[in-house]
């Protein structure tokens, strides 16, 4: 019972955050005039297209201009450009919520549409796939290494791990990616330079999977090296702290075997704070996605974001900022669910 209620409350507060972000974003866009720019761009596109179309039908230049002018006026009122931005705001917010994100100016999806929703939807799985793989590897690594090292603080492995964590925290993901490409793709030539599949991709499903795995190696290695350091260190610190608690001594006093004490009394109790730190570090995963995909040309939404920035495609940038926030909020919610399941102390009565 406490579980359900807690989760509902958490879910609502995260939704609240999402709305805040949305409103803030829209307000910023409106107040700084960016939305005016976007709509003006859309307006001139439409007017131009209309003019071209009409030019084939109406030959009299004066009549043509008249018709275009009329069309333009109609468009201005329908786009809401004649009103100040805060009147437009609610409809914009609604459009974003319902994921009617408009069209991208500079990018088209693989299937040829330039609706933003399509573009995002077909690239999202690539990013999710990459990040989930990294998450799983990181989780296993931190459990294995972090716990092992915590049982022998001060040992050689422990100090090595501390140094590794320090270095990996300081390592810029994107630079590491470049180095790995330089070494493994340029010099040693065993991994590809980037991308998700070879061109052309193999048709046989087995070879396709293998091709994917081959392309996955460098990006995953980059992200794991860059992100596992802090995980492992946090796991180690928390486990060491928990291992000094009285109930651990009590568990040993009860004659429980050391392995059981380790997992049920130390790791299980350390899990909530480790999860908390994970939640806090989740932002780094998003950051890592954007930067790594850029360097590896991995066709996910991170690379999309980078391209949108480079080509100043405002509508796309706005839409992607929102999508990233959405993903972040969802991921946090999932983690908070896990947290509440794992730690009975935070449940509401």
């Amino acid at each position: 019972m406490g579980l359900g209620k807690t989760l509902t409350i958490k879910g609502l507060s995260l939704l609240f955050v999402l709305f805040c972000v949305l409103f803030l974003t829209v307000i910023i866009i409106g107040a700084t005039g960016v939305s005016d720019r976007i709509l003006s761009a859309i307006l001139s596109d439409r007017v131009r297209a209309f003019r071209q179309e009409m030019a084939t039908k109406i030959t009299d230049p004066e009549k043509l201009n008249e018709a275009v002018e009329e069309y333009r006026r109609a468009q201005i009122s329908s786009l809401g450009l004649d009103k100040p931005w805060y009147i437009r705001m609610p409809s914009m917010v609604w459009r974003i919520i319902t994921l009617d994100l408009g069209n991208a100016r500079t990018v088209i999806s693989f299937s040829g549409s330039n609706k933003i929703a399509d573009i995002i939807l077909e690239r999202m799985p690539n990013t999710v796939f990459l990040m989930v793989t990294v998450l799983i590897v990181n989780f296993l690594l931190s459990l294995a290494i972090g716990v092992k090292v915590a049982t022998k603080p001060g040992s050689f492995l422990d100090r090595f791990v501390s140094l590794y964590s320090a270095v990996s925290y300081a390592l810029p993901t994107w630079w590491l990616a470049m180095i790995l490409i330089l070494v493994f793709a340029f010099y040693i030539r065993i991994f590809p330079f980037g991308g998700m599949f070879s061109t052309p991709p193999p048709t046989d499903p087995f070879w396709r999977c293998l091709d994917l795995a081959w392309h996955l190696c460098l990006p995953v290695t980059t992200l794991v090296i860059a992100l596992s350091g802090s995980w492992i260190y946090i796991t180690r610190s928390i486990v060491i702290t928990v291992a000094q608690e009285d109930f651990v001594t009590a568990a040993r006093a009860k004659g429980l075997p050391e392995k059981l004490v380790l997992w049920r009394y130390i790791v299980r109790v350390a899990a909530p704070p480790i999860l908390t730190n994970l939640i806090l570090g989740l932002a780094f995963y998003l950051t890592g996605a954007i930067l790594t995909e850029t360097v590896f040309s991995w066709p996910g939404i991170g690379l999309l974001y980078f391209n949108a920035i480079m080509s100043v495609d405002e509508a796309l940038i706005l839409a992607l900022t929102y999508v990233f926030t959405l993903i972040y909020v969802i991921a946090r919610f999932v983690l908070e669910v896990l947290y509440v399941i794992v730690d009975p102390r935070v449940r509401y009565k």
């Binding site: 995260l14 810029p172 340029f186 989740l282």
Partner: protein
């Protein structure tokens, strides 16, 4: 109190990690001071982003010390000026002044280009002419180029000064007149005929600095060359202010160059103080705001606390990079905006932890005692609560510094940085955009990243060293 400090210092200094961190930090600070003393503050806009300043450098060339490790040696870049003629005499009605430098070709490579720059040509009567002459180690002489200085303009009075604001650049490679000279040279000296239009295929430098081998290919002629510019003047006072000879090499400088010819060593040096500045400012302000709000919220409780908590909750739930990108994109990539945004995202983290520490301390007996004596809220916060959380706050501040450095580097890499200041992230951005990764320009890619890592690791090491002081449970002995 002082024994606590002494003990803390002992604990801190005990680990090798801390010692390493402090050594690194000192290195960074010393280099930063050196840079600030030796470079102007507007270095970015005045020099770094000014392509003309780098025009004479070889493009995308490796550092000089590469030669220590390779069997096949690379050619050093050469640039030398002279202001004083080595000899001057009267001959055939002209005053001849010889400006020359001596150039030694020591490796088996051809120079990549050769240019001559003339500055501040002064004449009193008739416009002089200038000849470029190369004397090779094998004794052969080439008269490569003749330039006639611009005559006086009507209304102009002597002394006539030319090429003062804008030096005159003579580029030999690709010049048709030079091609003819070289073609004749080859026919006369080696009895081989190469048409002037084909000189480009053979390579101007190959002809000037080489000789045809038995297999028909040109080989570099090693030895000492005498490069001279001869001024044929009508007045004995005529002179050239400065003559600069640039013979392009394949390696240059301490850290090589990028595709614009920029000396990477300078750009990298400038990155030190910038990194320190960004790191410290951001982390200091973030910590200040976060800790203050945490203390105030934790101690005051009630509505203030609630408000602070709500706000930090919302901010904490925001994904940093996408919003950072978004805001930088809207407001422009100025350095202070980046710092401001980083601070805006960073403070909630500290608030949460500090607040929970405060809550524990608040209910401790000595705080109660202070309250019962009648101490004011602010006094209690400052005198009793703050010293308890100070070590943790300090360690957090140090730990946050590398994060700020890394964030700025990431933003620069994405092209959102401040273009007027060279930073390591920017250097890497330029490299990546120009395909340095795929072309194997390791000297461009490795050092900036290593420096980012180095400066970030410095702070992380210190923060790690501080951890046992702050969290007694992590100390060596219980």
């Amino acid at each position: 109190m002082s024994s606590y400090l002494k003990e803390s210092w002992a604990e801190f200094w005990a680990g090798g990690i801390s010692k390493l961190g402090v050594i690194f930090l000192l290195t960074v600070v010393v280099i930063s001071i050196y840079t600030l003393l030796n470079f102007p503050l507007d270095y970015g806009t005045r020099y770094w982003n000014n392509p003309k300043y780098w025009a004479d450098n070889p493009k995308a060339s490796m550092p000089v010390w590469v030669n220590l490790f390779t069997a096949q040696k690379f050619l050093n870049h050469f640039s030398m000026s002279t202001r004083i003629p080595s000899k001057a005499f009267l001959s055939g009605g002209h005053y001849l002044k010889f400006y020359n430098v001596s150039y030694e070709l020591t490796v088996n490579q051809f120079p990549t280009f050769i240019t001559i720059k003339l500055e501040d040509v002064v004449y009193y009567r008739k416009a002089p002419s200038v000849k470029v002459i190369v004397q090779r180690p094998d004794g052969r002489v080439m008269e490569l180029y003749t330039l006639i200085v611009e005559s006086p303009v009507p209304g102009e009075k002597p002394p006539y000064v030319r090429y003062s604001d804008e030096p005159k650049k003579i580029i030999l490679s690709g010049n048709t007149y030079v091609a003819m000279v070289l073609s004749k040279f080859l026919a006369r000296e080696y009895k081989i005929s190469v048409a002037p239009s084909d000189i480009m295929d053979v390579g101007y430098e190959a002809v000037i600095f080489g000789y045809p081998g038995d297999d028909g290919k040109f080989k570099p002629l090693k030895g000492i060359y005498n490069l001279s510019v001869v001024l044929y003047a009508k007045d004995g006072k005529d002179k050239i202010g400065r003559v600069t000879f640039v013979v392009g090499g394949q390696v240059y400088g301490l850290m090589g160059t990028d595709t614009l010819g920029r000396d990477l060593a300078q750009g990298l040096l400038f990155g030190f103080p910038v990194a320190l500045l960004i790191g410290f400012t951001t982390s200091f302000l973030t910590t200040l705001i976060g800790a203050s709000l945490g203390i105030v919220g934790g101690y005051m409780g009630g509505k203030i606390d609630d408000l602070i908590q709500r706000v930090s909750d919302v901010v904490n739930n925001l994904p940093q990079l996408p919003l950072l990108i978004f805001l930088t994109f809207i407001f422009g990539g100025k350095l202070w905006i980046i710092v401001a945004v980083l601070i805006a995202f960073g403070w909630p983290n500290l608030v949460i932890v500090v607040r929970s520490m405060i809550l524990q301390i608040k209910s401790s007996p000595f705080v109660e005692a202070a309250v019962s004596i009648g101490a004011s809220k602010w006094r209690i916060m400052a005198r009793h609560i703050f010293p308890q959380v100070a070590p943790y706050i300090l360690s957090q501040m140090i730990f946050y510094t590398p994060s700020a450095i890394l964030s700025e580097a990431a933003l620069s890499f994405l092209g959102l940085g401040d273009p007027s200041i060279p930073t390591w992230g920017q250097i890497l951005e330029y490299g990546f955009d120009n395909g340095a990764v795929y072309l194997g320009y390791w000297w461009w890619i490795l050092p900036p990243g290593l420096l980012i890592v180095f400066s970030a690791v410095t702070f992380v090491l210190i923060a790690l060293g501080l951890e046992p002081v702050v969290n007694p449970r992590l100390r060596r002995w219980r």
